[in-house]
Symmetry: C2
Subunit: 219 residues, 2 copies
DNA sequence: TGAATAGTGTCTTTAAGACACTATTCA
DNA sequence: TGAATAGTGTCTTAAAGACACTATTCA
């Protein structure tokens, strides 16, 4: 019977992004077991066929174990596989990427955060995984509401503008950005809520939908 | 040790597209073994850890077994998983989609071809897989050279125009299409090669690159 | 009132689509 | 010459980007 073939190891790994101090960063984990014990790596683990309904459930379990709650945005990225990527044997890693607002993580002293432009050398094929995740993030940022999931529930137009510039990695005109975003209906004003500070108060907005929304054209 | 967890079954499945008689179609296979013996399904099979370097190699092996040669275009689509999708147990299917020109398949009497708008009811979660593959195909068609991989090495501008309309599922203006495609440099004229017929001969073109090329904007 | 941030109006450039036109072949 | 397919020119619409302008707050 076919299913009696020797089966590969099946795991999930997570690229968990946040923005702290205007820098796109990844949450890493220090490995407690071999192989690569003691090194920083992407959070991950084997699929538990007894408790996980599917690999997405396994990914959510890993994320909850790491940060204590579900990520507001979670999406399958790519599946990495092969005989060479893990010294324990032929393996399949179904990789997810997730976005979490820094505001939700601030209390969590235990997370190891690392800006993506200053990552240490990562074990397994995690370097490749990160590259692919950033490519996806950058790609989707140009035509969807994706970067908004890096912000907390309430944010100003300038917060949003900044986070799009961070993820896309380019300067965007303030007025054009505002027009484009407003006509896409991805966010809505929170009536009579303003962020006050040293200067003119700024209107607060929230996402109109909890789901990812694609633009009709790019920003 | 972690890796002694019971492991899921790992397989690959392939959505193999071609265009015959101007209709986007899938190559299906009649299952020779249980479960679902006798039904039409997507070609696929278990990963063979002894012979496959990774899941993409497994996908290529399945494709060669089905059509006798490699598909000109092959890309990972998505990984489907879970306890419920296969009666044999908790499984992971790394799904690939491939594009093959009909001209290469014509000789191959054995393939079962089915237009995507007239598919039979498919076993496992293959219905979902097909839906996702078509979504990807349609999505990429609007901003890349993807549909060109459904054509043989030499084609006319009208062939290309038709195949884009098929995959996108909408009418495209002839002149605008021509301008757009030519300025993207994804194809090049084959010098002094024309397709002759009953009427004015048409310039023949070929892809400039064997790789997928994204447009700067959409068609 | 001036510094700092918030928010708007308008012009230019460029892409996409509509559509009518010309070109070449063969029956 | 007319039917059929191949290929082009040009106008309209709309989006993106540049940039200068006005608005509101506090020190």
């Amino acid at each position: 019977m076919e299913s009696s073939y020797p089966q590969p190891l099946v795991m999930v790994d997570i690229a968990l992004f946040t923005i702290r101090d205007k820098r796109l960063s990844l949450i890493l984990t220090r490995r407690k077991e071999p192989p690569f014990e003691g090194l920083l790596a992407l959070p991950g683990g084997f699929v538990h066929v007894q408790e996980d309904a599917d690999t997405e459930a396994a990914a959510r379990r890993v994320i909850r174990g790491k940060i204590g709650f579900d990520a507001p945005y979670l999406e399958q990225l790519f599946t990495f596989s092969g005989v060479a990527r893990d010294p324990r044997g032929w393996s399949v890693s179904v990789v997810y990427y997730a976005l979490v607002p820094w505001a939700l993580l601030e209390r969590n002293a235990s997370v190891e955060l690392c800006p993506v432009e200053a990552l240490p050398s990562l074990p397994f094929d995690h370097q490749q995984i990160v590259a692919k995740a950033m490519e996806r993030l950058r790609g989707k940022a140009t035509y969807s509401s994706l970067p908004a999931f890096l912000l907390p529930g309430e944010f100003t137009m300038n917060d949003l503008h900044g986070i799009y510039q961070q993820t896309i990695g380019a300067r965007l005109d303030k007025a054009s950005f505002r027009h484009k975003i407003l006509e896409q209906d991805i966010i809505e004003e929170i009536p009579r809520r303003f962020r006050t500070g040293a200067h003119r108060p700024a209107q607060l907005y929230r996402l109109s939908s909890k789901a990812l929304t694609a633009f009709e054209r790019k920003i």
